[in-house]
Amino acid sequence: MSDDKLPAEHAEGHGEVAAADNPFADPGLPAHQVRRTDIDERAAKRAERQVSLLFVVSMLATIGFIASYVSIDPDKIVYIFPLGHVSALNFALGMTLGVALFCIGAGAVHWARTLMSDVEHPAERHAIEADDEVRADVIEQFKTGAGESGFGRRKMIRNTMIGSMALVPLAGVVLLRDLGPLPEKKLDHTGWDEATPAVPIRLINMNTNEGMKPEDIAVGSLTFAKPGPSVLRPEGLQESDDDFQEAIAKDALMLIRIQPEDIKDANSAGLGFQGVLAYSKICTHVGCPISLYEQQTHHALCPCHQSTFDLSDGARVIFGPAGHPLPQLKITTDSLGYLVATGDFSHPVGPSFWERSE
């Protein structure tokens, strides 16, 4: 934009009294208004006492803080209206510290407002930009310096230097490689992976730590399960296992039982056993565990972002941000009548990732 398009600078605005012909001119700084404490010595003395009182209260509060620290039992719970039952120590420490700090602040501010001068002064501003002479001088010096370095003339040095500097950060990136192992196919498989029709893995009830028979599961109920003994884990998945958190993050199952005629998806019914269906408990959105089940509608809701899956219809997503159905595990029973899995989930469990194929 050319300069003439910019609004004019306020020529009149330099603090001088208005020219008679411009009613909008800057009349300059208004005269200082005196405060009560500026002229009345008694008011000033009162203000002084108030400030000191605040500082004294602060001192008392700090002493109170120390006294609370040494005397109140950390386990003591007291009832304070309207807060309810709170830790006595926490309350006492917080309040005394709060008062101790607040009163210092209040004292200082009150002092500044009542007793320190409140006369406003103008101070000049200086342009941030240097004037032309300095600018020319600096550019000249820089050119001299650059000329002496030969940076512009010796192109080969310049280019190779830029190249080396561009590459050297890669060393830092490469060093990060050992932060973790490569993903490989780990996200595609879960702990149920080891199950085969010949060596199936039992479904173990999360709460009772026992195997489950289909008749243990009532229609409309929701049960959580984890993998039982396998070749690699003869004990089954245990909380004390080193990798328990990692394993349960993928292996957790959600078992429901639906009247077989209510199951809309034939394929899904086939993966189940007499209406018992085993779905991954891990939401396919970003991986929260799903915990809310509505037995009338067979809808399961993820509490994190409310993705809703219809478990009677192959866990199809019927609402919310999840992008695909919950993976289902094929189950059957073993010779003793316990529910078992004979293989891994048909699809990778949990949130989507780039390498996920389907």
Partner: protein, 551 residues
């Protein structure tokens, strides 16, 4: 060799400096000889600071940052950033005998065994909440008053980066106790990282040291939370303050205030007392708040288990905007050639920084449109920049709509609304509401401008009703005093950029670049007829006050 060096005994050369009057002056002299403090203090001891309540917002940010660092150091003395497992056996009986991580164990320990530990934890968390909130409001103050204009654009960017880093450090801190809620937040982060095409899975494995959740994430987050990000923030903060000092404060228009001066009270003593006192006020209030209201009671949530979740899983409010984006986005996924592109997560993940970066870039965009190369130290009243004010309001409304999306479950249960309806509303609302808010705000600003003009030309309503000889009732208007007149007319008004004529003086068609055309169009939108009320001129004022048509 000179005779002086051989003679051995010589009085030291007399100092040219005057004798110090007392011990304090002597100490100052000592330091000056080493650090040059007199020259430093000369310019700064009585440096002028203008006074306005809104200038305190930045101070709150600074003070809460200091409080966070102080309490954070205390917490590191007790916190064990490890995911090694222990059996809990502390004084909180409901969790007795439960297998928990050392991080969670030590957090409970700080809360129940360390005297005052709970208080410091609460102060740390409360201060963080206030810190981010204050940065938001401070940034709004700077935005709506145009304080980001030259020479302060770079400082705007520094401030923006502080906000951005503040978000992340808050999120990381929230994740450290390894409780059920924080674990859920980390799970969310893992899902978001996995949604990144090509490299997402690798980043996730490197970040977690393998599969989610592994045992590395808490110690790694700890280092980033207490060292890396605060270090960068400290550097940015110092740079931010140096620039504030160097640029000097902005001020509102008013009598005696110009672009070339700064009117206010000196650093010593008034500003020192007020600002220093204000630190204690802020600290005191946060301490009292921490005694009264408990945030993040991690013992109530329990330790993190990937197969468990607490139903009220909510992030801290400043992440609510990201949470809203992720909740209302439809679950789009593209599967092709053996790969999955998770747009339902990836798009929100990209939008989050993009919306923020648009704010960071605003000063440069506005400057490009106005083409104004001058320094600005006098603040704009928001009404006098209707388009900017409208944009700011639209941004806030978008934030609030998305926040509502992020809390859709809470809104649904508290107001008995359908969760699905809220989500559909937010989906549409994120596009519609900001536009509506923009136009409403702009019109409102114009209305206020008109009122200012009215006041300047016709004076202020006195409430006194007068009956004229011919029976008409009128209200007496009192002329504004000159300082008011000046204040109300001191703002600048840009003229919209005009495109050069299609053909030049020789009749040859001129090429106008697309950028110039865009710029002219935006400039028309910002400063054209519909976007500002021409401010009254001195002549108009004289015309009216000199009798004709004046009551």
């Amino acid at each position: 060799m000179s005779s002086a060096s051989t003679s051995g005994k010589q009085a030291p050369p007399a100092s040219t400096r005057a004798k110090p009057a007392n011990k304090a002056e002597a100490a100052a002299d000592y330091l000056d000889g080493r650090l040059g403090i007199y020259s430093l203090a000369k310019a700064n001891l009585r440096k002028i600071f203008p006074d306005h309540w809104s200038f305190m917002l930045g101070e709150i940010c600074l003070y809460t940052f200091i409080i966070i660092i102080l309490t954070g150091v205390y917490l590191t003395l007790f916190f064990k950033p490890s995911m090694g497992e222990v059996i809990y056996s502390g004084s909180y009986t409901p969790l007795d005998g439960i297998r928990v991580s050392e991080a969670y164990n030590s957090t409970l320990n700080i809360s129940f065994e360390v005297r005052g530990g709970l208080l410091i934890r609460q102060i740390h968390h409360w201060a963080a909440i206030v810190f981010v909130a204050a940065m938001f409001v401070h940034m709004m103050r700077v935005f709506f008053t145009g304080a980001f204009r030259k020479p302060r654009e770079i400082n705007w960017v520094f401030g923006f980066l502080l906000l951005f880093l503040g978000f992340f450090d808050g999120f990381l801190g929230y994740s450290l106790p390894d409780d059920l809620l924080s674990g859920t937040g980390i799970r969310f982060m893992e899902g978001a990282i996995l949604a990144v095409p090509l490299v997402g899975t690798y980043i996730s494995f490197f970040l977690f040291g393998g599969q989610f959740p592994g045992t590395d994430i808490v110690p790694r987050f700890f280092t980033i939370h207490v060292l890396l990000i605060p270090g960068i923030m400290l550097g940015l903060l110092v740079a931010h303050l140096i620039l504030v000092f160097y640029h000097k404060h902005t001020q509102w228009a008013g009598p005696g205030k110009t672009e070339k001066n700064v009117v206010g009270m000196p650093l010593m003593p008034v500003y020192m007392a007020k600002a220093g006192g204000f630190f204690f006020l802020v600290f005191g209030i946060i301490a009292a708040m921490s005694a009264i209201a408990s945030v993040n009671p991690v013992w109530a949530y329990g330790p993190y288990r990937p197969d468990q979740v607490s139903t009220d899983a909510q992030p801290d409010w400043y992440m609510g905007f990201a949470e809203g984006l992720i909740r209302v986005m439809p679950g789009w996924e593209i599967r092709a050639w053996g790969h999955t592109l998770n747009l339902g997560v990836f798009i929100p993940l990209m939008l989050f920084p993009l919306v923020l970066f648009a704010i960071a870039a605003y000063p440069f965009i506005e400057n490009w449109i106005t083409g104004d190369k001058r320094e600005h130290h006098i603040l704009d009243r928001p009404r006098n920049a209707p388009v900017r004010t409208g944009l700011g309001a639209a941004w806030i409304s978008l934030y609030l709509v998305l926040l509502a999306g992020g809390g859709n479950d809470l809104i649904a249960t508290h107001f008995h609304l359908s969760l699905n309806d809220i989500t559909y509303f937010v989906r549409v609302g994120s596009f519609v509401v900001p536009v509506v808010v923009f136009f409403v705000t702009k019109r409102w600003c114009l209305g206020l401008q008109r009122r200012d003009k009215e006041k300047v030309l016709h004076g202020r309503e006195t409430g006194v009703i007068k009956r004229l000889p011919h029976g008409e009732f009128i209200e007496v208007h009192a002329q504004l005093p000159q300082d008011k007149l000046h204040t109300l007319t001191a703002h600048e008004q840009y003229e919209p950029l005009e495109l050069p004529a299609e053909v030049d003086e020789n009749g040859v068609a001129r090429k106008v670049s697309l950028a110039t055309k865009t710029r002219a169009a935006i400039s028309e939108g910002m400063f054209g007829e519909g976007s500002q009320i021409p401010k009254p001129t001195a002549d108009e004022h004289k015309e009216i006050t000199s009798g004709h048509g004046h009551h």
